[in-house]
C-alpha cells in the first residue's frame, strides 16, 4: 500500500469519504495520519463503496417483481414510461386479469397495497393511470409495512391463552400458600 503515500490530498480525501471516515483537511501534518487510517480501514476490509448495495436489498425483498425490474431500474430515474410498460406486460402475461385489476384500481386510486399476494401487481394499473411520478418513490414503501402483517410466529390468541393459563396457575399457587392472617380472607 505504499502507493497511498503518493496520492494527492484530494485523492486521500476521497478515499476517506469512501470508507466513511470523517476527516479534516488533508494537509502536511495530517496527511500521514489519514494515510495510516486508510491502511487500517483497508486491512479491516471495512464498508468500502457502499453505494450500490442498497438497491440489491430491495430487490431481494420484493423478488417477484424486481427480478424483471433490474435492467430497467437503473434507467428509470428520468424516464418512468418504459419500465412501467415492461412491468405491465409481464404482469398481464402472467395473469391476464386485466378487468379485475382495473376494477381494483378504480376503487383504490392510491395504492396502499393491502393484499400481500396481489400487491406487486397492484402497482401496474394504478401507477399507469394515476401518474408516473407515483411509481418510483411509492414503490418500495407500501410493501414494507404490509409485509409485517404475517410476521407473528405464535398467533395472538395463543399468547392470550398462555397468559391466562399462567395467571390461573399463579392464582392457585397463591391460594395454596401457608396462610398469614392477612391472606386468610382472600382464600
Amino acid at each position: 500500500m505504499a502507493s497511498l503515500d503518493n496520492k494527492s490530498p484530494q485523492e486521500i480525501s476521497d478515499l476517506l469519504d469512501e470508507y466513511g471516515i470523517k476527516h479534516g483537511p488533508v494537509v502536511g501534518t495530517t496527511k500521514s495520519l489519514y494515510v495510516k487510517k486508510l491502511k487500517e480501514a483497508m486491512a479491516k476490509g471495512k464498508k468500502a463503496k457502499p453505494s450500490s448495495d442498497k438497491t440489491y436489498y430491495r430487490e431481494e425483498e420484493e423478488e417477484v417483481t424486481y427480478v424483471y425490474r433490474t435492467p430497467s431500474k437503473s434507467e428509470t430515474s428520468g424516464d418512468g414510461g418504459s419500465y412501467m410498460r415492461s412491468r405491465r406486460e409481464w404482469a398481464e402475461g402472467e395473469y391476464g386479469h386485466d378487468t379485475s385489476y382495473s376494477s381494483y384500481s378504480s376503487s383504490r386510486p392510491e395504492y396502499k397495497g393491502r393484499d400481500l399476494v396481489d400487491e406487486p401487481y397492484m402497482y401496474d394499473t394504478p401507477s399507469t393511470y394515476s401518474s408516473n411520478s407515483y411509481a418510483k418513490p411509492m414503490k418500495s414503501e407500501p410493501v414494507k409495512p404490509k409485509a409485517q402483517k404475517s410476521s407473528r410466529l405464535i398467533p395472538l390468541w395463543l399468547q392470550f391463552v398462555f397468559f391466562l393459563a399462567l395467571a390461573a396457575f399463579l392464582y392457585l399457587v397463591f391460594s395454596n400458600m401457608e396462610a398469614n392472617e392477612a391472606i386468610k380472607g382472600i382464600v
Binding site: 470523517k22 501534518t29 495520519l33
Partner: protein, 90 residues
C-alpha cells in the same frame, strides 16, 4: 472532574492565552521540548493541530504519538485536556 489532574483543571479553567505547551496536561518537560523543537512551542499551536483534526481525540493521539515519543496515557491526557478546553471556550 473524575480523574483529571490538577494540571488539567488549571488549563481548562481559563483561556490558554500564550501558555507554553508544557502547560497542557500530559505534556511534561521531555515532550514539551520535543514539541517545541518541531515548532509547537505554544499551547495554541497544538490546539491548532487538534482543531485541524476536527477535535477527534483518537486522531490527535495518533498524531501526538507520531510526532513525539508520547505514550498512550500522555496522549490521552493531552487530547482530553484540549477537548475539555474547547468545550468550555471554543
Amino acid at each position: 472532574m473524575s480523574t483529571t489532574s490538577q494540571k488539567h483543571r488549571n488549563f481548562v479553567s481559563e483561556p490558554m492565552a500564550d501558555k507554553p505547551v508544557t502547560a497542557l496536561a500530559g505534556i511534561g518537560d521531555r515532550l514539551g521540548h520535543s514539541l517545541t523543537e518541531q515548532g509547537y512551542d505554544k499551547a495554541y499551536v497544538v490546539l491548532g493541530q487538534f482543531l485541524l483534526l476536527r477535535k477527534d481525540t483518537e486522531l490527535f493521539c495518533y498524531w501526538l504519538k507520531d510526532v513525539t515519543a508520547a505514550n498512550s496515557k500522555q496522549a490521552d491526557d493531552c487530547a482530553q485536556c484540549l477537548k475539555d478546553w474547547c468545550d468550555a471556550f471554543l
